[in-house]
Symmetry: C2
């Protein structure tokens, strides 16, 4: 980038809020997605909406790519500055502006860490439900832009279900306000939802109004072990069919069970084909009733062993197995790809079997765990990025996994977004008309394609 | 319209599926919104998506306006063919394609009546929650396009919260498929939400995938009478603050109470400033617990009288008052405008007072009732469309009501849409950037502005 432009950027954000040295830029050349990196030309940290607007006006006039970024925890290469230009670091937008408990909403800036927001609303007896694994690191802006989910998605949904309004700076620097505190608001096109999950390709989010919900008074956790995968699949369907919607309904497949047991010695039987981990929440009477119903359904579907946590320590022990899944798998090999291929919940066993077949066919190691209740699985491929021959097989296995998800009526992403990682499958899911429609919207709102170019809709 | 074009349309849909006589066209010149009507040039009833596509290709080439229409029950003049052209009557799209209880979704065509869909899912113990007053007449496509809500909106939301996927024919005739059966689906821009509530201005919906929820096992209804409006307002806020989210939390103001009592003799005290009608639902234990908590909150906030329905007959009696509100008000004068100005719930008393002031200031009769729990009020103006002097005052009162809603942080529409009725206030709510952004999207997707032209975003 010409030094004239660097100087212009310094004038906008102040000299101390721009990084240009090689070692500094290197830290922003990648995110949490293996296999993607590219050096930016400058990292710019604006203080307020006006500064964001002025940076975008400059970037738009000069056609410089701009990549909005929070903590860089995303898993689809959504924040990698693949065409150089400016990483727009939003971490100075770190204020929780308001917790309005009468209207059950909070207003916060995008750089607020999700766990901090939850801490702030907790004293009002409220929660902000989206809880990705990175909740103590990830920013609200990043999770909203990538539509992050988490363990409670089955009952509580993902980020988009909680975003009520946004302030967004558009590519030309103009400032758009969408939505508000109204529970019912159907005026105009749903721009709030359009910019949520747009992965920074349509605008830069500078303020977020989120819906809060009352914290559940009670929780109850259960673990069920299945020697047969199909029975686990039937149990998942039967729980939902029994009209219980657990907060959490997780599955670990055999490869994950073996790895977790080897890593954490939590007492899982390594021959089991599946472990289900379930938590119901709500008011105490409901929790007891639903836990009893779930236990009954698990029994009826031939669970070999069912364990219901009787206290907090037992609850922690149950969830330790789930928490160990990703670190245990990640420890096996140098590189970890955590995917989020998602299918209608009735197709979960088919999907797990297809993943296992792909692992065998391409001779790669894949453990599958994830949010079985909502069909959002995490086939986790462990490998070595430096081994070209292995990586070729890894990418072939990935192709097969995503193609299968789409064939089963699923989607490329349950909660990680598309970014660059899944771009090549987009047309398989959306068809030519779908991609064209998305690109039409992208081009209409960002005619110079400066905002996170090349991501989500590809080149435009 | 030239007879050449009528002949082309006949070739597409068959001679029996096009209306062109004056008396037939007249039936489609208006909808349920007073004060708006215009004759179309043809009413065309396609049988399938392919016919819709061919009609749109023709209309787009010839730049003929097209107005998708269901049962015409909408309250914002969204289906009035104000520029002539083709009314695209979607009532032949009347098939419920699938009820998939394992995945809690249904797939239906847009011409299906909402009550019919509910009947079909009821046998699976499920409900489709949006329940506008017109539920036995309105089509699924119309309610999805206008984002209809209803009495259960506080707990269950409006149509957009249930639309999981769509098939849409775009202006150029291409067929777009969005979303699917996946509970978690964050791939790509949220086109499903963009077309939901777009009032037919971006495409013609030909298939809808909706989310279903388990039917509540039990319900309990309550009525509370307040001599003081502020206390009623405080009670609304206190119920939510007590972490109870009722399915329904309705208010009737004094003008409505007087009118309902005069009309239906249900025993309401005509001096009361407000009546709250509340229903909690869920599993029986929760319902009992929540009903007790609500009663306690009502007492603490100085309700003069509280009545809890002990059986179905008493429940019906309570809801008779609410059901009578609109017909009772409508009976007063020849013309009824039912508006849906919506505010954050903490502002409900301010809003009711502002409506009363507007009624006094402009000497018009307004009864206000509606969904207090979610801030979605229905100020209902009764008047005589033939009285020009009165109508001038009516429109001034409306201006004041909507301006106040926006000033209170509210929105122009909680569940009726914008159409033509509220177009002139759009810039007040969204600002110049908001309107420009919506028009940019409209123009990008419908460059010839053939789809419901002049509605929602105005001229483009």
């Amino acid at each position: 980038m010409e030094s004239r432009l660097i100087n212009d950027l310094k004038k906008i954000v102040g000299e101390q809020n721009i990084l240009t040295s090689k070692e500094d830029l290197l830290c922003y050349a990648y995110d949490a997605t293996p296999g993607f990196s590219h050096m930016p030309e400058a990292v710019v940290s604006p203080a307020d909406t006006d500064e964001v607007s002025r940076v975008l006006i400059l970037a738009n006039n000069e056609k410089i790519p701009v990549y909005p970024r929070g903590s860089g925890t995303n898993l689809s290469a959504g924040t990698v500055p693949t065409k150089g230009g400016i990483v727009l670091l939003m971490t100075r937008f770190n204020k929780i502006i308001e917790v309005d408990d009468a209207n059950l909403v909070a207003i916060a800036e995008p750089g607020v860490i999700v766990a901090e927001l939850n801490k702030a609303v907790e004293e009002f007896g409220l929660i902000y439900p989206p809880d990705p694994g990175t909740v103590t690191t990830a920013t609200l802006g990043g999770t909203v832009s990538e539509n992050a989910g988490g363990l409670r998605g089955l009952k509580y949904g993902v980020s988009k279900h909680y975003v009520m309004g946004l302030e967004v700076v558009l590519a030309d620097g103009s400032i758009l306000k969408t939505g508000g505190k109204n529970v019912k608001d159907v005026a105009g096109y749903d721009l709030t939802k359009l910019f949520t999950g747009a992965e920074g390709t349509l605008g830069v989010i500078t303020r977020i109004i989120v819906k809060l919900v009352p914290a559940p008074e009670a929780k109850k956790s259960m673990m069920a072990i299945f020697s047969n995968l199909d029975n686990a699949g039937k149990a998942i369907a039967a729980i939902i069919a029994s009209k219980v919607i657990p907060a959490t309904l997780e599955i670990l497949d055999n490869a994950t069970i073996r790895t977790v047991e080897d890593y954490a010695k939590v007492g899982l039987p390594i021959e089991a084909e599946a472990v289900l981990l379930i938590e119901v929440d709500g008011i105490p009477e409901v929790v007891e009733k639903e836990a009893a119903k779930v236990t009954e359904v698990l029994k009826a579907n031939h669970a070999d062993k069912i364990q219901v946590a009787q206290d907090a320590a037992e609850r922690d022990k149950i969830w330790a197995a789930r928490r160990a899944a990703l670190p245990a798998l990640a420890k096996l090999r140098p590189t970890t790809f955590t995917e989020d291929a998602t299918v209608p919940r009735s197709k979960v066993p088919d999907m797990i079997r297809a993943v296992n077949q792909a692992a065998a066919k391409y001779n790669v190691t894949i453990g599958t765990f994830g949010h079985a209740g909502d069909g959002n699985l995490h086939p986790t491929i462990v490998c070595d990025l430096r081994d070209k021959a292995e990586m070729e097989r890894v990418y072939q296995a990935m192709d097969e996994i995503f193609t299968t998800a789409i064939r089963l009526g699923g989607t490329l992403s349950g909660e990680h977004g598309i970014g660059l990682g899944k771009l090549k499958y987009m047309e398989d899911q959306f068809g030519a008309v779908g991609i064209r429609t998305m690109r039409t919207i992208k081009k209409a709102l960002d005619p110079n394609c400066i905002l996170n170019p090349g991501k989500l809709v590809g080149e435009c």
